[in-house]
């Protein structure tokens, strides 16, 4: 059944309608050149199925047969980013600036954290805590 179908397709030169992957797989299965001595010439309009004026898609079968299968294609290579690039690689970061900023923010925070806590706040905590224990 499959053999006769292939014969039919080959006879009517229909391989031009198949996707490149299907075409290459079919060629591999049959282990023989697609069109033998009479390759399809682009521009010809064979009468298929008795119908008239059927437009055939111009395909260069040899070029398509040499295309790799989808599974063999390699994904496009992304450009190498420097190790200090941002989370999504939007732009490379400046390590000098980041180190400086880190230090500045630490200094700012520590300066504020070393300030004495307002007495009224401590008093409030102690009072509320005592009330809570009694209640």
């Amino acid at each position: 059944m499959a053999h006769s179908l292939h014969k039919l397709i080959k006879e009517f030169n229909l391989y031009g309608f198949l996707a490149p992957g299907q075409l290459a797989r079919s060629r591999e299965r049959q282990k023989e050149p697609l069109y033998g001595e009479t390759p399809y010439v682009s521009g010809e309009r064979p009468n298929i199925g008795g119908g008239a004026n059927i437009e055939l898609i111009k395909l260069d079968s040899l070029a398509y047969s040499s295309m790799p299968l989808a599974k063999d294609r390699k994904p496009p290579q992304k450009p190498e980013l420097p190790p200090d690039a941002g989370l999504r690689g939007v732009s490379p970061t400046d390590p000098i600036f980041d180190r400086w900023l880190e230090r500045k923010l630490h200094e700012l925070f520590d300066a504020v954290a070393h300030e004495p806590i307002p007495d009224d706040l401590i008093q409030l905590i102690v009072t509320l805590d005592q009330k809570d224990r009694k209640g």
Partner: protein
Amino acid sequence: MPESLEDSTFQELLLGSLPRLRAYAILLTKDRTRADDLLQESVLRALCAKHQFQPGTNFNAWIHRILHNQFISFLRQQRRPMTTLEDVSESYLSQPAGQDDKILTQEVVRALGRLPQGQREALILISSSGMSYDEAASVLGCSVGTVKSRVWRARRQMERLILDNESDSDDRTSSPRIVNRISDMLDAHS
């Protein structure tokens, strides 16, 4: 592990966390008076909810989370434009330092005040307060990835604000100059 904390232990934890909590509130609100109000409100909430704290878990993250929630409520209620962050740096600026260093500190404070709230919180928790990404995520109620993303964006925004401000205020060659000054300071510290 005890079922609940002793009252004295809870009070000790609370009093011990106050300095860093207050510093976080000041950098967050950009205003000392408002920061103290926020801190007081958060402490009251923490005392009311002290039975909800599970011993053995991170008290620092727990109390910071309360303050974060309180801060969000403050923002929703007030809807007032924030005042400047100038006074945040007054204690730091009162320390002896070079003129360049003081100017740069003011720049950092100004840029920090212009960050979006989410980015500012993440940057303060990670870069200033020294929290881990896990702790910051539990404080902010988001994923670790979100915290990382916010911190990264905050740093880039700070970089733009500080360097662009410098180049706007002066001539075109000042951006490389500020980077050189930063680089010199790092060399001097290391």
